[in-house]
């Protein structure tokens, strides 16, 4: 494939990934949802899955890929007869609106009305923690594949939640590893931070500041800026950052806000004067801002497909994704993590030989599973999967893709064990007792 693919062609790829596609996929999934009701008497009872993700609110930008991944993965498993070859999967989707009270209500809805056995989601960490209260009480499995506050597996831990993405502490730790190298190399003395004023943003920023303080004690934090989710005017924030004259800026920004911030900071010339390493630049940003994103910018990704092209499951997923959504379509980080969650669940069910929740929970405990990001093991004390904590690299055009990716020669992949809470004893000190 050529890197100078026409805009028209690329636009058609993007169009294939918009909400219309989602609606079509939803209809397909809806049909799939009813299919088990007409299945032969020989097949087992259907396995009901609750999918809680936002198609409205700030998280909608990422959830689209995640929803597709779940639909594609479940359709593929259903084509083999479902879990254990006999339990067809029914997906019950609800929009959380990126609001915790709505997320809690919808979790209750899918559990009590649809009788789902596992809840997958959601985007916002605050929503995930609201869901945790419901799933713990109802003893329902919860697969967190995007929401990544470290509180989900530490302070708010429940044995029913399994975390498939690097948590905020791991993520900020991985940036610290990369930034500490740059500080040494460039002789940087000061920095500033800007973050979304909510749980994930706060956690990520504080994790970064704390870890950087240990890794490079000489560097000074000059300014901290916070903005409300959904901000559209960053001019004053960018001016304040430039006025502070730090050597670099660290951004704890995700979703649509990230796209807006990068565009406005570029327009105001911030990236020409101040380095911006470690801001979230996932495959979503690389695709959506393929023309405007500054080349050479150092970004952070959670599960970029291009880092694991050697993994059989990733190869299978990319093939499936391109077959469904077009030759030039590649899965986003969010899609990869959700795909892993569904196949992780399948592997646990195969191991348990049963779809009973307690059996699956036991099978997942400390389990090693195959993922798109390689073989990974759930940490015994908090169910955090030890997939890479972060991918830090420079944005660079690549001849094989119609959008830039990271420079594969210099990209740093940080191991989970290097940056997560060091020991299980430390983890248990953070965890609070549940009824």
């Amino acid at each position: 494939m050529s890197s100078n693919m026409s805009d028209k062609k690329w636009d058609s790829v993007l169009r294939s990934m918009d909400r219309r596609e989602f609606i079509r996929t939803s209809v397909g999934a809806g049909l799939a949802m009813f299919a088990p009701r007409f299945a032969s008497a020989q097949s087992g009872k259907p396995y009901k899955l609750g999918l809680l993700l936002p198609v409205t609110g700030t998280g909608a930008n990422y959830a689209d890929g995640a929803i597709k991944a779940v639909m594609n993965a479940t359709a593929e498993i259903n084509s083999r007869g479902g879990f254990l070859g006999k339990h067809l999967i029914e997906v019950n989707y609800r929009d959380t609106h990126t609001k915790p009270d709505v997320a809690a209500r919808e979790a209750r809805d899918v559990i009590n009305r649809e009788n789902v056995q596992t809840v997958v989601g959601t985007y916002s960490s605050a929503c995930a923690m609201a869901i945790q209260e419901i799933i713990h009480e109802q003893k329902i499995l919860h697969l967190a594949a995007t929401s990544n506050s470290s509180k989900i597996v530490n302070e708010n831990y429940t044995p029913y939640t399994y975390q498939f993405c690097p948590n905020s502490r791991m993520q900020s730790g991985s940036v610290v590893v990369a930034v500490a190298e740059m500080i040494k190399k460039n002789g940087w003395k000061s920095y500033a931070t800007i973050g979304q004023d909510y749980e994930w943003g706060r956690q990520t920023q504080s994790g970064f500041v704390e870890a950087l303080g240990k890794a490079s004690s000489s560097v000074e934090l000059k300014k901290e800026l916070w903005f409300k989710l959904g901000e559209t005017q960053f001019a004053s924030y960018i001016s304040a950052l430039m006025a502070a004259k730090p050597d670099f800026v660290y951004g704890a920004i995700a979703g649509k806000d990230n796209r807006t911030f990068i565009q406005q900071a570029k327009a105001q010339g911030m990236f020409k004067r101040i380095s911006y390493p470690g801001g979230l630049i996932s495959v979503t940003e690389l695709q959506q801002q393929r023309k405007s994103i500054p080349r050479g910018m150092i970004g952070l990704a959670r599960a970029p497909f291009f880092a694991h092209l050697d993994q059989p499951l990733m190869q299978k997923y990319i093939k499936m994704h391109r077959a469904k959504h077009g030759e030039d379509a590649y899965p986003t980080d969010w899609a990869v993590m959700h795909y892993d969650a569904i196949y992780g669940l399948e592997q646990a069910i195969n191991k348990a030989g049963s779809i009973a929740t307690e059996a699956i929970k036991t099978a997942l405990k400390g389990a090693t599973i195959d993922t798109c990001r390689g073989r990974a093991t759930f940490r015994d004390c908090n169910n955090q999967l030890n997939i890479p904590a972060g991918y830090v690299g420079a944005v660079k055009d690549h001849p094989d893709y119609p959008f830039p990716i990271y420079d594969l020669d210099t990209m740093i992949i940080v191991k989970a064990e290097d940056v997560w809470v060091p020991t299980c004893g430390d983890v248990q000190k953070l965890q609070k007792k549940r009824a």
């Binding site: 919808e106 009305r113 605050a126 209260e133």
Partner: protein, 350 residues
Amino acid sequence: MNLENSATQTTDTRRKPMGMLSVRVLALLFVVFLAAPAVLGEFWVEVATEILILGLFAMSFNLIYGYMGQISFGHAAFFGLGAYATAMLFREFTGGTEEISYLQFFVSLAAGIPLAAFGALLVGYFCIRLTGIYFAILTLAFGELLFFVVFSWYSFTGGDDGIQRLLPPPLFRDPVMYYYLCFVIVIAAMAVMWRIVHSPFGYLLRAMRDNQERTRFLGINTRIYMLINFVIAGSFAGLAGALWGPFTRSVAPTLLGWQESGIAVFMTLLGGSAFFAGPMVGSIIYTFLHAWVTGFTQYWPLTIGAIILIIVLFSPGGLLGAIDAWRRIRTRQGSSGVADNTLVKEEPDS
């Protein structure tokens, strides 16, 4: 001046007193709600609990809108304050262990009322100086201010995380038992509200609603009465919020946001703001529809938007307004057009 007559002689259909209809509707709802858990499954019992709590919230809003004639877009701030007061006491009592005694549980619930009342007193002090759109905008501004304080004050409120682990004591973890707890509290709150709106104070509110200037000329300090009503409405909203936290096991700042205030407005419009029972009827329609519609489509906002549009265009008095209009037509037909005044005299003010 006879305020009761003044109120009953208004020609605006949205303002007409409909006490008897409310009484009949409330009696019917009492029986239905009392028996509901016997026929409903767990999910629908939870929906019914939501109806009761949000119905109380909407009724508290209607004290300001339907009785005082001012619209508040920041009423959820008091709902949220009540929820947070309960949640924070929960957190103190349990120490994060999820174990709470019955006494501590009821103390936590009760704490929602004074905090919300205090918040309403502060906000109301400024808002009652204005009326109409200015009153509405100021309530919205204060609501957003309180939302932002709760959202940003991480060390105290938990920021956008909210507060989790609001597990009630063992008996009330059962959805049916929690439902009946809410039922008893909401019925008691409605009885107090009924007494308030049918007291001289309640009629004074209607007088202010219909003509504030004239009321002032009578020598009545309207600001004081508006403030008292604002605080009362905030207290009931706080009580509803207090019940909400343990119901969903968590609270979040979105409970104080303008969108939550919008829910109370929607419910009141759906049921009928001129009726005491209107907001509760609106809560039934809104919450039931929400539960039903989201079961098969993600386009809930589109659905409720269309319903509100229809209500506003074709039945501005809400569902109870439509029923009442139908009853009036039937009565008029049955008594050769002399029944209109008779009806008004027969029915005490709502």
